[in-house]
């Protein structure tokens, strides 16, 4: 196989990998969640699917509607 084709293949593979990582990161950031901040500065994060998020997110959707 000519080296030029190998380089093109490697670049395409690297580009696809980088693209999929970016898409996954963006999708993860867009996941719905609830962050609770205590008075001492600690934070607890509850992604959708957890009991706390499932209790609070419908209320948030109501307010944003």
């Amino acid at each position: 196989m000519p080296p030029r084709k190998v380089v093109t293949g490697v670049l395409l593979a690297a580009g696809s990998l980088a693209g999929s990582i970016l898409v996954r990161r963006r999708a993860a950031r867009r996941r719905e969640r609830v962050d609770l901040y205590a008075a001492d500065g600690s934070v607890r994060s509850f992604p959708e699917g957890t009991a706390t998020a499932d209790a609070l997110l419908p209320l948030a959707h109501e307010l944003l509607a």
Binding site: R29, R30, E32, V34, D35, Y37, A38, L59, L64, A65
Partner: protein, 133 residues
């Protein structure tokens, strides 16, 4: 915002510098709306009630809760508690979380506390009643 101002003015100043923030409501200790930029008083009360319900639900999972953010694809809801007063806001999706919390706290602290109603006459009346008893 340097001195203490009324709620409407404080909210107007905050939304002017923070375009991510859409609707804001400030709620007093008794649950009454102190100020809001919502389109109608009914909408302001809906926001106030919703903030109260969010706090009540969150209190079960986080003791000594000070503030919360519920982040959805349609936007976020922020609720901040400072003493007995609460400020709640809706924002655009993916807001700058730290900045919104800072702006809400600054806004809440700049709002003048409602003056207690004068009860001098009532208190005087009670004293007279105590003296005669």
């Amino acid at each position: 915002m340097l001195g203490r101002v009324d709620a409407t003015q404080a909210i107007a100043e905050m939304t002017e510098i923070s375009p991510q923030v859409r609707e804001v409501v400030v709620v007093g200790a008794d649950g009454a709306v102190i100020g809001s930029n919502a389109a109608t008083p009914e909408r302001a009360q809906t926001l106030a009630d919703g903030a109260g319900r969010l706090l009540a639900a969150a209190d079960r999972d986080q003791p000594e809760l000070a503030q919360l953010e519920a982040s959805t694809t349609a936007g976020s809801v922020f609720v901040v508690r400072d003493g007995e007063r609460v400020i709640a806001a809706t924002t655009t999706p993916e807001p700058t979380v730290g900045l919104v919390f800072y702006d809400l706290k600054t806004c809440l602290r700049s709002i003048e506390a409602p003056k207690p109603k004068r009860r001098r006459r009532a208190a005087a009346g009670e004293e007279e009643a105590d003296a005669s008893a």
